[in-house]
């Protein structure tokens, strides 16, 4: 897959084949032999160890990021500048042998810069598609809230449909395809905050937080010299990563766990402290993320603990706190939402589950 991530479809006349090709590609990924779960755990550990050589003391963030990658979701990293958002995204991408592109979002960035553009080739006398930055396995979107809404929506469309349509032709995005977007919650001037509907596209939101004192000291020693990323090499091939993804999909989620996830999400819709609860898409992604996390632990079934530990990152960014708890400040509601989600998780009963007897 690497090296030639773009599949070009001739034109609208053969759109039917294009759809066939889409199905074919997905199938191809599906039939990728699922990796043994013990091997998944070992590979995951290797990736995490690799990433942690450049990011100190952020185990939970790294683990969640890998979970999202395995669950084929997209990740939103929201934090103040300089805490290693981009470093995390890059290190993760470099640990896997696949293509990476980075888009620095600015107010004048155009949708075609992201998706690609058709250029007239004088020699062939026909239009030729020049793929944009989106055509990569891992796309790092830096400061996504600085781009105009138009560009944002172009990116988000690609994220959702995993394909690009330019001038009537549809081009499939490579697999795996994950967008890791970063966003700065503090500096609001000249930015376009993602509306709730678009945040919903991201599987999870994490924030890095400041490192503790020891990690920061250690960082001073290790980061003093050249770029730390230079020392990182891939520990997992693209095919292996796809195998891990397939294995993650095959993880079993019991009825009890699904019911638990649904109860949790429904509780967010009924909570008086929240104006907007989580969507059904959130339920879906919560289960998918939980499966990936179970695979990361080498477990072939999902536990309620997986749901618990992912609830804040997967559900948090989709919610809006009610004005009653928010007062009139609408910024930096993340800690508030985290409290509310934690409380809901604490208050939702865990289903008993199957009992192999009458």
């Amino acid at each position: 897959m690497n090296g030639a991530p773009v599949r070009v479809v001739a034109g609208p006349a053969v759109a039917g084949t294009a759809v066939g090709a889409v199905a074919g590609l997905v199938d191809e990924a599906e039939v990728e032999t699922p990796m043994d779960l013990a091997a998944v755990e070992a590979s995951a550990r290797a990736i995490i160890r690799n990433v942690e050589t450049v990011i100190d003391g952020k185990h939970a963030a790294v683990r969640t990021a890998l979970t999202v990658l395995l669950a084929q979701g997209h990740l939103l990293i929201e934090d103040v500048p300089g805490v290693g958002k981009t470093m995390l995204a890059k290190a993760l991408a470099k640990s896997v042998h696949c293509t990476v592109s980075r888009i620095q979002f600015t107010p004048d960035l155009l949708p075609s810069d992201v998706t690609g553009v058709s250029v007239f080739n004088q020699a062939d006398r026909r239009f030729e598609f020049k793929p944009g930055a989106i055509f990569a396995n891992i796309v790092i979107g830096d400061e996504i809230n600085r781009a105009s809404p138009k560009t944002q929506s172009a990116l988000l469309e690609c994220m959702e449909e995993r394909q690009v349509t330019v001038d009537g032709s549809t081009y499939l995005l490579p697999l795996p395809f994950t967008v890791v977007a970063t966003q700065n919650p503090i500096e609001m001037e000249g930015t376009y905050a993602l509306p709730e509907a678009q945040r919903d596209r991201f599987m999870a939101r994490i924030s890095m937080g400041y490192p503790d004192k020891e990690s920061e000291l250690a960082m001073l020693d290790s980061r003093d010299t050249s770029s730390p990323l230079a020392g990182i090499s891939a520990v997992v091939s693209g095919a292996q990563l796809r195998g891990m993804m397939t294995a993650a999909r095959a993880v079993f989620a019991s009825g009890a766990v699904k019911e638990y996830a649904v109860n949790l999400v429904r509780a967010t819709r009924e909570d008086r402290d929240l104006r907007l609860g989580a969507s059904p898409r959130a339920t879906l992604q919560l289960i998918r993320a939980a499966k990936a996390q179970a695979a990361l632990h080498g477990r072939e079934y999902v536990l309620p603990d997986d749901i618990d530990s992912l609830a804040v990152s997967v559900l948090g960014h989709r919610m809006v706190a009610s004005s009653r708890v928010l007062g009139h400040h609408h910024q930096d509601a993340a800690p508030l939402i985290e409290e509310i989600v934690t409380r809901i998780v604490d208050a939702t009963p865990v289903p008993v589950g199957a009992q192999g007897c009458p």
Binding site: G209, F252, S254, G255, A256, V257, E259, D271, R272, D273, E300, Y301, V302, L303, P304, D305, D308, V312, R324, V325, L326, G327, H328, H329, Q331, P335, L336, E338, E339, I340, T342, R343, V345, D346, A347, T348, P349, V350, P351, V352, G353, A354, Q355, G356, C357, P358
Partner: protein, 785 residues
């Protein structure tokens, strides 16, 4: 002298004693009111009024019925005892009135708890039953003495002396003493008593002149109407009282020169860089205390006023976290405090504060502020600490109104608070690594057996307020361990003497060490109600000696709650007293002590039918046979719960060995065993979280029992696989026999590690019987069978 004549002579004066008795009662009731400076609510007054009235009227009635004068004290004592038995005996007395041995024992306990509570509580105190008993007994004794002096000995002027006792007590305890209003009223009541007595005696003498030379007499002409010498006495008395009042209002202004312009006395130096804890101690030790601020409030009891929060360890010392200023967080509209959810009941109070002498960057406000109006300068609000501070302004001279939320969480909500904390809260669990070992050790010892963070917190508070520790502002300096760092806390826990800083720091550090997020709040105690009518009776004055530090602990879904571990200062918040059930008069003896029960287990709160049956049949005539039958019945009833539990256990073990679903049955048995041994199992908890708690049980952590934990985890994984795994998937290494052995090992270890009362309860009265069985619970999940 013929007999009928003698009868008239004996009767008539007695009938005339009713007005004197009424005047005595009035005097006593008014004097009792002076205790209002020390106590909360008004129940105590009504009870004291009831006892006083019963004793005085009862004695007067007996006297009217012809009781010999010499017997009056005995009769009075009898009446008092009967009244107290009725009020506080809890039905243990014969016919509710005659005290039995049990009643006396109960009184002994009540008196002990009352004395202890008096030592522990600050003013105004919460009148717990023990204190009420002491008050009522005191009122009764005073009533008897008044009767003796005024009626038996006929010296009503001296009857005012016993009435002075309740009036004088507040003066010994609080600075301002009894409030002037009750002093004036008492004086007026005393004058009324004198007047009534004189009238009565005049009437009596007019109708029936005294016979003997020693009989008391009133000299002067008998006049029915118009002002007499007594009116003159009243006028003179009134002038004296008013003069004394004016003087008392004027004098406090003299020392300290506490009016405008001398703001340097007692000024706070709370900069962000100075260690506020040391400053606080210095302020407390300063002999002269100057006015800090005054306020009027709608809150009852008056609120603590918080200045700043210390939540950050820098090295071994507490420091305030310096947050960047956020101009958007306007103090006129503040979001809900951290962690508070809509389920918790809140009450809005308003407090108008005027700063006299405080000069600080932090604003004293009641917790949790919701809205502050009237400030000068730029003030910003910090959500995580709920404090209000300014970058460019100080507090001096500010006048502002704070709307605050009073939290009133129920004990159920507090017990249900989870142990999962958001990231922003988790930093309040950090502790310096090289802290004295005594901290962790003490914290573990004190909280062992606490079933929830809330119970652990209450246990810590009770431990620090208990008799072992004493309040002392000088000892720490003399012995060189002032301040609030962890090493100081270590020393403090050994010496057990210190002031609020040490108590607050010790509680916060110990709470953190047992996993409850905690921090220290610094601010002012509610101060004292103004005694001056010129300032107004609704005004509270706070001076530098009211500076205080107290811990705040975090509970999920509720947020930060203040605790009061310092003995003799401040008031214990209502939600931390919830565990000592408010005993209604005449109720069970169960929760008398102000101390929270450390081992509050759900099972113990429901006494078994058996126990009740054992105490009630005692009045039977056919004693022995009934007793045998009763005992047998009691034994059978006592054995019923344990037997049912044993049957259930056998059934489950059979199922574990037979399969299918062994792991599920083994898990059920494990959970029930844990519940029997006092572990509180919540249905919002995943198996993994439960196991993480079970691993801390004494039977499983003991170093000799290394592999118990491994076995426990094996049971957990098997149960998880069965409950949440793919049905019918291969289950390697789960031989039912092995599971049964694992189960036996773990349950035996849990049982062996429990204390003997817990073990006996687990056998006789297993708490798990009240949990629905698995099959019933599983019925709600038909999809998964």
């Amino acid at each position: 002298m013929s007999r009928p004549e003698a009868a008239t002579r004996r009767r008539r004066p007695f009938r005339a004693e009713w007005p004197v008795t009424g005047a005595l009662l009035l005097l006593l009731l008014v004097a009792n009111g002076a205790l209002g400076a020390l106590l909360q609510s008004t129940t105590w007054w009504w009870l004291m009024a009831f006892v006083s009235a019963t004793v005085l009227l009862g004695l007067a009635g007996l006297r009217r019925a012809g009781l010999a004068e010499s017997l009056a004290p005995v009769a009075g004592f009898g009446i008092l005892l009967a009244t107290l038995t009725l009020l506080f005996g809890g039905g243990t007395g014969l016919l509710w009135l005659v005290p039995s041995l049990e009643t006396l024992a109960r009184f002994g306990r009540l008196v002990d708890s009352g004395m202890e509570s008096i030592q522990q509580q600050g003013t105004p105190a919460d009148p717990v039953p023990g204190i009420l008993l002491l008050l009522c007994a005191g009122a009764g004794v005073i009533a008897m003495m008044m009767h003796l002096l005024a009626i038996t000995l006929r010296v009503p002027a001296l009857a005012g002396l016993p009435a002075l006792v309740p009036v004088a007590v507040p003066g010994l305890i609080v600075d301002g003493g009894a409030d002037p209003l009750s002093l004036v009223l008492t004086a007026i009541a005393f004058l009324i008593l004198l007047r009534v007595e004189v009238r009565v005696r005049r009437t009596r003498e007019a109708e029936n002149p005294p016979a003997g030379p020693h009989a008391p007499r009133v000299v002067g002409p008998v006049r029915r109407r118009g002002p007499g010498p007594l009116w003159g006495a009243m006028v003179v008395g009134s002038i004296g009282i008013v003069g004394a009042l004016l003087l008392s209002v004027a004098t406090p202004a003299v020392p300290g020169g506490g009016f405008a312009g001398t703001g340097h006395v007692g000024t706070l130096l709370f900069g962000s860089g100075v260690t506020p804890l040391i400053n606080l101690g210095q302020d407390l030790r300063r002999p002269q205390s100057s006015a800090a601020l005054h306020y009027r409030t709608s809150a009852s009891p008056p609120p603590y006023l918080k200045l700043l929060t210390l939540d950050n360890f820098v090295g071994a010392t507490w420091m305030a976290r310096v947050e960047p200023s956020r101009p958007n967080e306007n103090v006129e509209d503040i979001a809900l405090p951290q962690g508070l959810s809509s389920q918790v009941a809140t009450r809005e109070t308003t407090t108008q504060i005027v700063i006299d002498g405080v000069a600080a960057r932090w604003l004293p406000t009641p917790f949790a502020p919701k809205k502050v109006t009237g400030l000068v300068g730029d003030w910003y609000w910090d959500r995580s600490t709920s404090t209000i501070a300014s970058a460019n302004s100080i507090t001096r001279g500010q006048q502002y109104t704070v709307t605050a939320l009073e939290l009133a969480p129920t004990p159920e909500q507090l017990r249900a608070a989870g142990t999962r904390y958001p990231v922003g809260i988790r930093r309040n669990l950090d502790l310096p690594v090289n802290r004295p070992a005594i901290i962790d050790q003490t914290a573990r010892d004190v909280t062992s057996g606490a079933i929830s963070p809330y119970d652990a917190a209450v246990a810590l508070q009770t431990y620090l307020r208990g008799g072992e520790f004493s309040y002392d502002t000088d000892a720490p300096v003399a012995e060189g361990y002032d301040g609030g760092g962890v090493d100081v806390v270590g020393k403090f826990l050994e010496v057990k003497r210190g002031y609020c800083v040490h108590f607050a720091s010790a509680m916060a550090v110990m709470a953190r060490s047992v996993g409850i997020p905690a921090r220290i709040a610094i601010g002012y105690l509610p101060g004292s109600r103004s005694t001056s009518y010129i300032e107004g009776r609704d005004r509270f004055n706070v001076d530098a000696h009211d500076l205080h530090a107290w811990p705040e602990l975090y509970f999920g879904g509720i947020g930060w709650l203040a605790f009061e571990p310092t003995p003799g200062r401040g008031t214990v918040p209502a939600y931390t007293r919830a565990t000592d059930a408010q005993v209604p008069l005449g109720g069970e003896v169960g929760g008398l002590s102000t101390a929270a029960p450390r081992n509050a287990d759900p099972g113990a709160q429901n006494p078994s039918d058996g126990r009740r049956a054992a105490t009630s049949p005692s009045g039977g005539s056919d004693a022995t046979r009934n007793l045998t039958a009763g005992l047998a019945a009691v034994l059978i009833v006592l054995m019923l719960p344990g037997g049912a539990r044993a049957l259930r256990r056998q059934g489950r073990r059979r199922r574990v060995r037979a399969g299918p679903g062994s792991a599920g049955w083994a898990w059920d048995e494990l959970v029930d065993t844990a519940v029997d041994h006092g572990v509180r199992v919540r249905d919002t908890e995943t198996p993994r979280e439960l196991v993480a708690r079970l691993e801390l049980l004494p039977g499983l952590v003991s170093p000799t029992a290394g592999d118990h934990v491994a076995v426990l985890r094996r049971l957990l994984v098997a149960a998880e696989r069965q409950r949440f795994g793919r049905p019918g998937a291969a289950t390697p290494g789960e031989a039912p026999a092995g599971l049964a052995a694992d189960l036996d090992q773990v349950t035996r270890a849990i049982h062996a590690g429990a204390s003997w009362p817990v073990r006996i309860r687990a056998i006789v009265l297993p708490a798990s019987l009240r949990r629905p069985s698995r099959v019933a619970r599983n019925g709600t999940l038909p999809a998964d069978a």
